[in-house]
């Protein structure tokens, strides 16, 4: 018996066939992995399943009956719930109100029953390991707890199918465990789960079946256990294992010479309540990783150094020169280039061309007699487009129209164009496809080899350990340890974090 079935579904956007005759089946109690590179059609398929998009061809069958969901609401009413990558709740409303939004219990006057909502919300969330005052605004909860609220909400409405779109991307390992516990519970209750993730470990840990999409087409569907990792990856990429996967240099390149003057020195960096007395150094040619769980203060540290986060006390020294208090203008001028975590919101300017994006930070240098010189811009842009292998129709294409990987490269080009001494990278490979990921990782090594100091943040422990010469581990906004030399391993990283957590 099948719970949800898709037969030959197609979805066409102007000029793009996002889904091309895709078929796929979900059984009750099955945890079904949906994988593919960015642009393979996963999100489109999910949106078709959940009523956000209407298919242009093919058929949707739900519990044996042909179905058509006009809106997300239709799908939800039928029992198909979705939790998205970014928490899709309303931060300004209370936790309880978020949980019940759209189906609040009412009293006999038809008014909302506040007391009951608070009571039930507290009970329900306790089952997900969240203990908090449910009358507070959701935005005051930690991100992981918010995700649990979203999940509780999705399950609450008698869901028969739960779609999870990269649910662990913002969770800490401990929270991931909680999530997997909940998934096993749903599995036991016969709820079908569609699980989208880029993390292969997770897939093998929780999924029974797998469906692989590539370029909008179905390339494989079957049992998870019958497919080994190499096969899975090669099916996703549509090619045999290649050199791309050796993007990082081997870990034993050895540390940079200890005597050299650090290009970045952070001393006693404090920004209440998030950062406490953080100190570390980066030497030219060194990649220093910032490790720790989500909310440990990694992104805040990066932003504080980049001048985009207020500092209460502490000193930042770039190449021996002290940086004044905060301010991105001063930081950039001193040679600090920051790649923010959220590329779309804080990185690129989507409406502007590749050209304008790359030239953005160095316009005053690209002028002749005070006026912007197109010739000078073109030279810089051509240099970086070829060096970073940016794939585009041309330098005048709008950055918003590029793929995630190419957007990231444009952003990196803009940073490099400022001739930085220090490069701060916050999740440089998040949300980009495997090919571009390897290229970006190789580029980081290349830049370090040229003598830049690099600070790297990545929630992918493997990437962090492979990419960094040293890892500074943070917890609750403070440094709790540094891994060097042979100790730069995933195990050591986990151990440091776990140790600290035990002390707590």
């Amino acid at each position: 018996m099948t719970l949800l079935e898709v037969a030959g579904v197609s979805k066409i956007f102007p000029g793009v066939r996002a889904l091309d005759g895709v078929s796929f089946t979900l059984r009750p109690g099955e945890v079904h992995a949906l994988v593919g590179e960015n642009g393979a059609g996963k999100s489109t398929l999910i949106k078709v399943l959940t009523g956000v998009y209407q298919p242009d061809g093919g058929e949707l069958r739900y519990q044996g009956e042909p179905a058509r969901f006009g809106t997300p609401l239709d799908a939800q009413r039928a029992g198909i719930s979705t939790i998205y990558q970014e928490v899709n709740l309303v931060p300004l409303m209370s936790v309880a109100h978020n949980l019940f939004l759209g189906r609040e219990p009412r009293n006999r006057f038809g008014l909302l029953d506040e007391t009951r909502m608070v009571r039930e919300a507290t009970e329900i969330l306790a089952g997900y390991g969240v203990r908090a005052d449910v009358r507070r605004r959701l935005g005051t909860l930690a991100l992981g707890a918010q995700q649990m609220v979203a999940l509780a909400r999705a399950v609450m409405i008698d869901a028969k199918v739960v779609v999870m779109d990269e649910p662990t991307s913002s969770l800490e390992p401990r929270e991931v465990e909680t999530l997997f516990g909940v998934i096993r519970d749903l599995h036991a209750r016969g709820i079908g789960i569609i699980y989208v993730s880029h993390r292969l470990d997770e897939l093998y840990q929780v999924c029974d079946a797998v469906t692989i999409l590539r370029d909008g087409r179905l390339v494989h569907t079957g049992r998870m256990a019958d497919l080994d990792r190499r096969k899975l990856v090669s099916l996703m990429l549509g090619r045999e294992f290649g050199a791309e996967f050796t993007g990082f240099k081997s870990a034993d390149d050895g540390p940079a010479p200890a005597g050299e003057r650090p290009v970045l020195r952070v001393t006693g960096l404090t920004s209440r309540p998030r950062l406490h007395d953080i100190s570390f150094e980066v030497r030219p040619g060194e990649v220093v990783g910032l490790g720790g769980l989500l909310g440990a203060g990694r992104s805040e540290t990066i932003k504080a150094i980049g001048g985009a986060y207020p500092i209460d006390s502490g000193e930042i020294e770039v190449d021996g020169v002290k940086l004044g208090r905060s301010g991105t203008v001063r930081a950039v001028r001193a040679g600090v280039a920051t790649q923010p975590e959220d590329r779309k919101a804080e990185g690129i300017v989507p409406g502007l061309s590749i050209r304008d994006n790359i030239a953005l930070a160095i316009l005053p240098r690209l002028t002749r007699m005070g006026l912007v010189s197109d010739k000078k811009i073109d030279e810089v842009v051509a240099t970086y487009m070829s060096r970073l292998r940016i794939k585009a129709a041309g330098p005048d294409q709008a950055v918003g129209d590029l793929s995630g990987g190419n957007q990231q490269k444009v952003l990196l080009a803009r940073l490099l164009a400022t001739d930085p001494k220090v490069l701060l990278l916050d999740e440089p490979t998040r949300g980009i496809d495997v090919g571009a990921k390897a290229e970006v990782q190789a580029l980081i090594d290349e830049l370090a080899a040229e003598g830049l100091g690099v600070v790297l943040v990545s929630s992918d422990a493997e990437e962090l350990v492979e990419g960094a010469d040293r890892v500074v581990v943070l917890r609750d906004g403070a440094v709790i340890g540094t891994l060097t030399g042979d100790r730069v391993t995933t195990e050591a990283l986990m151990a440091t974090i776990a140790e600290a957590a035990d002390d707590h």
């Binding site: 609401l73 309303v90 409303m93 759209g102 390991g129 005051t140 930690a142 992981g144 516990g181």
Partner: protein, 327 residues
């Protein structure tokens, strides 16, 4: 298996209270000082005058509060207010019911048009209602011979509605009070009210959670249109005629009152009680300027503008204080 729960509250709470109750605090202060300083301000008559004068702007600001909490804005209410007044005065020849129904129907229809365009076409509320402002003004002028005809109120019952009183309090004040009460209930204790908050807080999330985003949007603009039309009708009943020149800038006064009342112009959070305080505050200031008498009446605009600036600046810093202390 308990997970990291909440972040500490800190002094952000206090800032939150100030943000929500600031307008009320300022209102009380201004009233107390005025009571002590201006003899003319003290009489019950004057209080009645302030309240009756504040009733129509109150209705408009009530609708505006809903619209702003969804993250929208309605610039058409000033025009709808005038249009409602003219239509009500014209229709009063057919009796009181007609005088109320006609402006409600017409302004409600324009409100629905606003709502449908905003909800269906993804056009900015600002621009859609700007067009409605022009359109409604054009409509008003075309039914009043380019503004030269002033229709007189022909129904005594309707006129009474604007001028009469119950227990010493004018009917318009009662009407506004009842609608404000209903508004508060609707906003805080109904699914519709929660949906209004959710849409303003995060429209994408609201849609994905299955809330009827479009329908709710159409409803808030309908509500805003209806209330603006009603305000116009009440004003016409009070004045005894449909005046064609009033009401420009009314939309901005309403927005000012809502914002002063602590509703975030970015949507997602706001309170009708605050809006009431905001409307009364602007009303009291106007009344005081009239009390002083020899002051150039144009100072009122200057003071309102200055006041608005001070309040929104203070509010911004308060919100920021809350954010940094409880992120």
């Amino acid at each position: 298996m308990t997970m990291s729960v909440t972040l500490p509250a800190g002094p952000g709470r206090l800032a939150g209270v100030v943000q929500r109750q600031g307008a009320l605090a300022v209102l009380v202060t201004v009233v107390v000082i005025s009571l002590a300083t201006f003899p003319g301000f003290r009489s019950a008559d004057n209080a009645g005058t302030i309240l009756v004068a504040a009733a129509p702007p109150m209705l408009i600001a009530l609708g505006m509060t809903f619209v702003i909490i969804t993250g929208g804005i309605d610039l058409s209410v000033g025009s709808l207010y005038v249009l409602g007044g003219v239509v009500a005065a014209w229709a009063s020849q057919y009796g009181m019911l007609a005088a109320l129904a006609a402006p409600l129907l017409l302004c409600g229809a324009i409100g629905v048009l606003n709502g449908v365009l905003i909800a269906r076409t993804a056009m900015a509320p600002f621009i859609v209602t700007l067009a409605a402002l022009l359109g409604a003004r054009g409509l008003m002028r075309s039914i009043s011979d380019q503004g030269s005809t002033t229709y007189l109120v022909r129904s005594d019952a309707f006129h009474e509605l604007g001028t009469g009183s119950l227990f010493g309090v004018g009917y318009p004040v009662w009407l506004a009070a009842v609608l404000v009460g209903l508004g508060i209930l609707t906003l805080n204790r109904t699914r519709f009210g929660h949906a209004v908050h959710a849409i303003g807080g995060s429209e994408d999330a609201a849609a994905l959670m299955g809330l009827p985003v479009r329908r709710v949007k159409v409803w808030v603009y309908l509500l805003s249109g209806l209330l603006a039309g009603l305000a116009g009708a009440i004003n016409a009943a009070k004045l005894g005629s449909g005046v064609t020149v009033l009401g420009s800038g009314m939309e901005l006064d309403a927005i000012a009152a809502v914002v002063i009342g602590g509703t975030l112009l970015t949507g997602g959070s706001g309170s009708i009680a605050g809006t009431v305080a905001g409307v009364l505050l602007l009303g009291v200031i106007q009344n005081l300027i009239n009390q002083v008498g020899n002051v150039n009446s144009n100072w009122q605009q200057v003071i309102s503008g200055g006041f608005l600036a001070v309040v929104v600046v203070a509010q911004t810093y308060l919100v920021r204080a809350r954010r940094t202390h409880s992120p």
